[in-house]
Symmetry: C3
Subunit: 326 residues, 3 copies
């Protein structure tokens, strides 16, 4: 715990919310509706959790106008309570800010260009020719390979890898020849890269990640992938080489996107979906087999294997019925 306390009025001013109740209420910490107590501010973004509001012991809550009548607690009323909470949580964040500078155990090549206020954590490696924009933070064990260009305010979480070789191999006489990967990776501004996420360098051209793209953990991005601005990707996503993903997309956890295809702006891909073709219309796309008790799944899976026999049986029935009807 730490950080300074804010009054509700100060938080309202900082976030553009309307303060309701005593503006001098002191807030020290964010907490959940269930665990909040004196000095805490909680938030209700999902109407599903409305019931928890009645018993909430927070000093204040962040809430949407249409739900605000559900409590008498002092409140920050905001049309986008989750974003308001994000701003409040940032103000109250007790985590010590990463120290600017290079940790003595990091390995940073002599010619790396570091912007103002960059923080390079313990055991980080930044190879020759890399460029890192101002106020970027590289956490422990991050690897930035040669020539990678990273924008401002990037966050690389532990064990992320930017600029590893793409998977380029050519077959000759039953063996694989490695194709040198001579492109690089360019990350825009405000990109966040989760723990264990790997972004490969391009084969010839660069792999390009737009401004504000957010990667969760353990995502694999193949060579020459391009991702548009403000797209968010959940954990364990795999994107094969040369796929192009638009801006403002949301890719669900564990989805796999094949190579050399295009996904337009504002597409949402559900978790566990294998995207095998380009998507040219915004919307939500899904493709996972429905799960269930193992025995039911066994029966269903057995029938799926014989679907075309079923189709033939239906066609035969239609024919015989037609003959009978005539």
């Amino acid at each position: 715990m730490g950080g300074r306390a804010f009054t509700l009025a100060e938080l309202a001013q900082a976030t553009g919310a309307a303060a309701r109740g005593d503006g001098q209420t002191l807030i020290r910490r964010c907490a959940t509706l269930a665990s909040a107590g004196r000095g805490d501010i909680a938030f209700l973004a999902n109407p599903r959790y409305r019931a928890a509001l009645a018993d909430c012991r927070a000093s204040a809550v962040i809430i949407a106008p249409d739900l605000a009548a559900g409590t008498n607690l002092p409140a920050l009323v905001h049309a986008n309570p989750y974003a308001c909470f994000a701003r409040v949580a940032t103000l109250l964040d007790p985590t010590p800010a990463p120290l600017p500078g290079i940790h003595p155990t990091a390995t940073v090549a002599a010619d790396v260009q570091l912007g103002e206020g960059v923080s390079i954590g313990p055991q980080v490696v930044v190879a020759a020719g890399a460029v890192i924009g101002p106020h970027s933070v590289l956490h422990a064990h991050a690897t930035v390979c040669h020539g990678v260009r990273i924008g401002a305010r990037a966050i690389l979480h532990p064990q992320s890898v930017i600029g590893s070789d793409g998977f380029g191999i050519a077959r000759e006489d039953g063996r694989w020849i490695k194709i040198p990967q001579t492109g690089s990776v360019v990350l825009g501004d405000d990109v966040e890269v989760g723990a264990g996420t790997t972004i490969d360098r391009g084969a010839l051209d660069d792999t390009v990640i737009g401004d504000g793209v957010k990667f969760d953990n353990q995502i694999q991005v193949g060579h020459n992938v391009r991702i548009g601005a403000h797209t968010a990707l959940a954990g364990c996503v795999g994107i094969a080489g040369s796929a192009v993903i638009g801006a403002h997309c949301e890719i669900g956890g564990g989805a796999i996107i094949l190579g050399h295809l295009e996904i337009c702006d504002r597409v949402r891909v559900s978790a566990g979906t294998l995207v095998t073709k380009s998507i040219r219309t915004p919307g939500v796309y899904s493709g996972a087999y429905p799960f269930g008790p193992h025995r039911e799944w066994l029966k269903g899976a057995a029938q799926v294997r014989h679907l075309d026999e079923l189709v033939e049986r239906i066609a035969a029935l239609e024919l015989r019925l037609k003959e009978l009807e005539e």
Copy 2:
């Protein structure tokens, strides 16, 4: 190879097995039924491999009572031969035990609390405020982030990450705002974390892993996940934020568990299953599309897309037939 030799009688006493045959048989090493020779002890846990018993050249075998008649070799007879093997293998393990203490290349913050006998391997990073219980082992390149609390006898395999930021982002005007992740991670006792596995810290409350939970490699655990005691998770599993998994569960490789759902105790999830809803009854759950030769799959997949047309054709047939029958 190394380690000291044990007599069959000593091993029987240490494991609670019944020794059959010459109790003075010297055992130096564990080996498979196929590769075992003089001085080796092999085990038969799976009746499928019974045939290999006839040709086995081990000095002794570990075997269940109902299979013991299948060989004349000296034996440790135990109702749970696999667990007995685990105990014997631990006694005979030739691997040098990890040295207690901090490897000189590790980076451990000044205020970290280390229990007795903790071993911190090369290039490990342990950040400020972390607590690590006695006899825990952190292998090369493990990352423990600030404030994480790890119980006794934990094993963190290479490149595991405990306490990276959860994936918390709020959308505002088409951009993402980062939500500070101010919770932590609490691991119980006897937790094993595989290579490349990442466990995110909570957003507000903690991510909590129960005693005896075993993680294979490359598993992703989102923020605020809770996993009950003695649950085991195979490789490449992804668990989204705020999922609650019970005790004594087994999660198969590559399964994806969506966020904000609950899985009760004693559930087994088959490999490759996408769990999209809470599971409230113990049992086995599955949900992967059956694989097959590509052409058969193509035909089946095409029909799956048109299943509701098939349903309509069947309904039409039923109607027409009813009219004919009347």
Copy 3:
């Protein structure tokens, strides 16, 4: 950019291609058809991109005989243009070769055996008893565990892990006992291991990877897996313990291969497939649920759950129709 320039004639001689046009054309760099300019050589391997040939401003192209008539540019004509490109790109590669020797920040145990010309990058860890063949390259943050044996010309990309413990646990009284993993990992010659890929050591015998096997990023290989020579695996593949994969296979991204099964030589597994049984016939195997717009998927998925009811309805129709026909 760097590296020396080659004439088209020199490149033809080095690759076995036929030079067409001015053999003195100077080539400095590889580039894509779209971005190539003076001094660049581009390639056309996929007839789909033939249209780009007309506007190509490269100094030369690499092309197959049957497509060579599509351009008047100087050319290297080769039956396998992609392999020819791989060779040309290697000759022209401007990336500085990894320096032989051990980076001062690496941790290499005293008894490790290093072949001639081995390059060990920053923050790499190589544990006791490991053997690394000549001209192998270990990139930043790679981990090689004790006793692992790596052949010649291996490339370990950042954050790869070779020889972490396999996931061996035995259940006893509802708890898990760890089984020591006393086997090792043996990599053949010319193996490439992608960023974040983990290859576990064997439980008793070794995990064995054949010559020329190529792993993309974030692949998980369980204990005692055996992979035949010249097999290639795309990103995010998971292979459970004791699976045996043949030679010259291609495993698509995100595929999961269950344990204790066998895949014969020359099998291709499509992306996202869960392989649940042995494959004994070469060919292509698939098994992903077809994706589509969320609403269509919802309808299809609902029907899949009730497939056996559909089958019963069809059987009932067949019976009633037979009665009518009689």
